[in-house]
């Protein structure tokens, strides 16, 4: 894996909000199939880094590439299309659409890409099954437990077969057992599909599911260690 070109490559990224530098010269790569944990205390810049890598936030300076695409100069529309087609997202509180059923929530990214309803829901059902929440397909997010909702969110992130999943504190709102289940299923699925994961967390037990970690402090990467497969 180390010989392959990285999927994501960031060099000397800078991003400032007001007087405070959120990113102060960050460089890192993400390769296909690897799970990279981004760790650090609150305010260290880890979420800003994730948002830049995912094309949500545009850095003020630096170089940022996804495969052969320049994410700094790409238009908003290009970045938006990239997020829909190539990336998946899991947030701390699931952020499922409350009016839709869990099945419809998982099918949503496919529907937004023009996949017909029947096909989208067939693929969504497959992922609900993989995440062991097939039984909540017809329920709305408000009717399921936090752990089930987060597994639905993981299914939604994976349904488009993304190259990279960005997970921001994916177990932050869950108890230990449910957090462990979400991480185990997420890592099993991405290991089988070769999907890379950028995992933002301040919890060591969650970071332990990664292949390596980068630790941020004051907008910079303190250390990068761990196994590279």
């Amino acid at each position: 894996m180390t010989g392959e070109a990285p999927l994501l490559s960031a060099r000397d990224l800078h991003k400032t909000y007001g007087p405070t530098p959120a990113l102060d010269g960050v460089s890192m790569d993400v390769r296909a199939g690897e799970i990279v944990a981004v760790m650090g205390p609150s305010g260290s810049g880890k979420s800003t880094l994730m948002h830049c890598l995912a094309g949500i936030v545009r850095p003020d300076a630096g170089e940022l590439r996804y495969r052969d695409r320049n994410l700094i100069t790409a238009s908003d529309a290009e970045r938006s299309a990239l997020r829909r087609r190539e990336f998946g997202f899991v947030f701390q509180f699931g952020q499922l659409v409350p009016e839709l059923t869990c099945l419809e929530n998982v099918a949503l990214p496919l529907r937004m890409e023009g996949v017909r309803r029947g096909e989208a829901e067939r693929r969504a059902a497959h992922w609900l099954d993989r995440l062991d929440v097939a039984d909540v397909a017809g329920k709305r997010p408000g009717q399921v437990s936090g752990g089930q909702g987060q597994r639905v969110a993981v299914a939604r992130a994976l349904v488009t077969d993304p190259a990279v999943v960005f997970a921001d504190e994916p177990t932050g709102a869950l108890d230990s057992l449910n957090g462990e289940l979400v991480m185990r299923l997420l890592t099993e699925c991405v290991e089988q599909s070769g999907t890379a994961v950028v995992l933002v967390t301040h919890e060591p037990a969650v970071a332990a599911y990664s292949h390596r970690e980068v630790v941020m402090r004051d907008g910079r990467i303190r250390t990068s260690a761990g196994m590279v497969q």
Partner: protein
Amino acid sequence: MSLSHTLLGLLERGPRHGYDLKQEFDAQFGQDRPLHYGQVYATLARLLKNGLVEVDAVEHGGGPERKRYAITASGVSDVAKWLSQPERPEAYLNSTLYTKVVLALLTGRDAAAILDVQRAAHLDLMRELTRRKTRGDLADALICDHAIFHLEADLRWLELTSARLDRLAEKVRS
């Protein structure tokens, strides 16, 4: 872990030969470090001397004689006492790290780097335990969890110390 008490506890379930005790110990607790036969027989000899076990039977076969050991009443109360007492929390690792960090600050070395290296080593071990946990059975998972939670506590200490290095430097250098 007290090997004497563990072997006594296994014997409480019924008399065993030293060989069987080792096998049972390894199956239950020896995931990381299986026992040497020498450890088993030396421990049994000590327990015998202290009256906590007795020789239940001696078998004479073609080879050396085989002794079967049984727990005594004193042995049973010894195990019960051990089980009822809490273990002393281990504080040794953090005091060693604290010594290193203070020495680094006193000698003008990079104390944060010591914490970074330790964090990476802790996370590597947590990864290994997490992999083992997801592949093993419930008993293995519980043993791994125990180690993971301890590592997690150390990591919290590393993070807090890392955030307080400036204050610590002022204090130790004053």
